[in-house]
């Protein structure tokens, strides 16, 4: 059994909030373990917040696409944007240090996604950044 959701948004945080809400509603209908919608929300928020903030010139409006595919074994989330070429997986992991006073928590979002999903990959295709994350439905 496979179910698929295709959505698009403009490069704004307000649209991102609406897209996440629509995705939550789609997932709610499928009775998934609670960690799955949590992780899908995390992927969308962290990846697409970066796209909205950094992928385009200020004031320009662009379409970002999201495809969520639910199969028996996993949820696959694919985010595509026509912004500046950027591979978030190439970012160095943040170093928080050993003291709260010295801590500079930048770059946490992508780091979290990389650690918490089962797999993630990036490609640049015909001027489009494509990031794909997969979350297994059955964990020991």
């Amino acid at each position: 059994m496979t179910a698929e959701l295709n959505l698009s948004m403009s490069n704004s945080i307000a649209d991102l909030v609406r897209l996440i809400q629509s995705t939550e509603e789609f997932l709610e209908a499928h009775n998934l373990p609670s960690r799955v919608p949590y992780l899908v929300n995390l992927v969308l928020e962290e990846v697409l917040t970066n796209v909205v903030k950094y992928a385009f010139d200020a004031g320009s409006v662009h379409e970002i696409r999201v495809r969520v595919v639910l199969s028996e074994a996993e949820v696959e989330i694919e985010c595509s944007d026509p912004g500046k070429e950027f591979n978030p997986l190439a970012l160095r992991d943040p170093e928080l240090g050993t003291s709260i006073l010295a801590c500079e928590p930048g770059g946490l979002g992508v780091h979290l996604v990389k650690k918490m999903v089962d797999s993630i990959d990036y490609r640049r295709e015909n001027g489009i950044n494509v990031l794909t994350a997969r979350i297994g439905l059955h964990r020991a």
């Binding site: 995390l42 928080l96 709260i100 928590p105």
Partner: protein
């Protein structure tokens, strides 16, 4: 997202957060949280037992609060996060710098 002050004494302010600490949630309570941190002159116990979601924006809010408190010798302790929120705190490395506690008594002992 909601923020409530549960109780306060000269040593500790106990607040409770509830809801999703996402982009929208941070906008709803961020200013109030920062104001409390800046003005209370105590350590903070942040009860997250009713927080259903935490992302990097919320983590940065906690870090900024803990850092501000540490500059004056105070501490911030997170109390009773839900399993996925705790997993987020652990995977982000937050738990190495901001203690997580299972009970109020344990948390007060960490302050």
């Amino acid at each position: 997202m909601e923020l409530k002050v549960i109780k306060s004494d000269p040593r500790c302010t106990h607040i409770a957060l509830s809801g999703k600490l996402d982009v929208a949630g941070e906008q709803e309570i961020g200013d109030e949280f920062r104001l409390l941190i800046d003005t209370r002159n105590t350590s903070f116990l942040v009860d997250m037992s009713q927080v259903t979601y935490l992302a990097s924006l919320g983590i940065r809010l906690l870090f900024a609060g803990a850092k501000t408190l540490a500059e004056d010798g105070w501490k911030l302790v997170v109390l009773r996060p839900q399993p996925m929120v705790e997993e987020t705190l652990l995977n982000s490395g937050t738990a190495k710098l901001i203690p997580i506690s299972r009970s109020e008594e344990e948390a007060l002992g960490l302050l």
